[in-house]
């Protein structure tokens, strides 16, 4: 097997980490092909690392690219080719002459990274959800629920509730009043929180429901 045949066979491989026996034999004899295999494995490994980093964090992939570039320059992969001065019949002095193949792998890698990056950039944030508007509660009902005098009325009402339900009503009434106090305290400190305002309205509605149920 010569170097050209090795390249053809290499390009056809599905798993480049496993070479056929003839290719392996050539790789052990040919230093240039051996270096090419080593460098292409390195590029593949770097691409995997980039993908892993993209999965784990939001850091841009450019952070890793300079390392790859530096290594490629050190190995001469992206330098301008020098004119060949040795005989074409002689074994090739290195894989430098087959530089386009290495660059093709690097280009594919770069395009993939660019597509991923652009995809993230073009993913426009969704519109903010609108808070659901709470149903209108009659102001009089809220005022009545909020007034302290109403609690005296309810104390009298509770005495008329059948004994088997009285404990439930008293407990529920105290519970709802406590929640109203908590929501009010929170809203005093955070007047702009619409969720808290809705929570307070709900508590008022619960209080009004308890009152109406006791009256019935």
């Amino acid at each position: 097997m010569n170097c050209q045949e090795f390249e053809r066979e290499w390009a056809a491989l599905e798993d480049s980490s496993v070479l056929m026996p003839a290719m392996e034999a050539h790789r052990q004899l040919c230093r240039s092909c051996s270096e090419m295999v080593e460098d292409l494995h390195y590029i593949t490994e770097q691409a995997r690392q980039v993908r892993t980093v993209r999965d784990l964090s939001d850091d841009p992939p450019e952070r890793l690219w300079p390392q790859i570039r530096q290594r490629l320059e050190q190995d001469g992969l992206i330098r301008q080719p020098k004119p060949r001065w040795f005989s074409a019949a002689a074994p090739r002095a290195g894989w430098f002459a087959r530089l386009p193949m290495g660059l093709a792998y690097a280009a594919v890698f770069l395009i993939a990274v660019a597509v991923m990056y652009l995809h993230n950039l073009l993913q426009v944030p969704a519109a903010p959800p609108l808070l659901a508007v709470a149903p209108a509660v009659p102001a009089a009902a809220l005022e009545r629920a909020a007034s302290s005098s109403s609690d005296q009325d309810v104390t009298e009402l509770a005495q008329r509730v059948p004994p088997e339900h009285r404990a439930v009503f008293v407990s529920s009434w105290n519970q709802v009043n406590s929640s109203i106090d908590q929501w009010n305290d929170f809203l005093d400190a955070n007047p702009g929180d619409p969720f808290a305002r809705e929570g307070l309205i709900n508590s008022y509605q619960q209080k009004e429901f308890l009152r109406e149920t006791m009256v019935q």
């Binding site: 944030p125 969704a126 903010p128 609108l130 929170f186 702009g192 929180d193 808290a196 709900n202």
Partner: protein, 304 residues
Amino acid sequence: MRTVLRSATFTGGFWRRRGAGWACLAAALCLSLTVASAETIKKKFPTTASPSFLLRNYIGTVSVKGWEHNEIDIQGQSASDAMEVIIMGGEQKVSVQAHPRREGLSPQEARLDFEIHVPRNATVRVDSERGEIIIENLDGGLTIGGISTAVALSKVSGNITINTVDGAIRMQSSQGHIKAESISGDLTFLQVSGPELRASTNSGRIRYEGDFGQAGTYVLNSYSSPIDILASANASFDLAARAVQGMIESNLPFRPTPLGNPFRRLSPGKFLQGRFNNGDSTVEVTSYSGTIRVQGTRTGAGPQ
């Protein structure tokens, strides 16, 4: 032509309709068994396709099921003759009201169980202080009021309003404009969707399991209790969740959406906003001190 039936037809009439001999024998049997006399109620009313049905009970199990006949069928069983039942009916409206004949009835004496069939498009209102209310296959609108009453709804649609004090509310396979409120009862919604669901409780647990339908508004609100949301993989909704003193836990991959100014400084454990799939429905969840959990169902947690 409206038919009006008074309670005398049904209440306590069983024994009066029989001869004295039978009554004496029955009374002797009752005394020997020391069991209060029970009474069976059966009545049918031909109605329109969408009549109103109202029932007020004290204690017992009330089952109302929709069917395809233009007829309301009422079957009841009282545990004693201490309860008076008034049934009034016509083509447009049928009402059933149970009243205690005297003060201080025990729960056993006051118990009345009903099994009722109504046209599927009937508008139904049921009030019961204790026991169970079971509603199935109704499309015409529903109002339920209870104190310590467990409410179970299945396959109902339309305008649905449920209120209890400490009775649990459970809805399944239903849709419509739904408002469910309880002071301390648990609220459970399984495969419930529609244009609107508002669920509010002070200290009961809220659980929603489903896909939030299409373009609906879902508002879940508690004061001190946890709220659990299990969204199916094909659910599509925008979420805004707020926990004041409790925490928000989520394992769903929400796409971030721009935050309003008041919430920029809040951690995801206190305020969570995002879009799941296409954000077709709007889901708003608030709890003061309960934990809000948003998860995927067992069949799949990730977006489609």
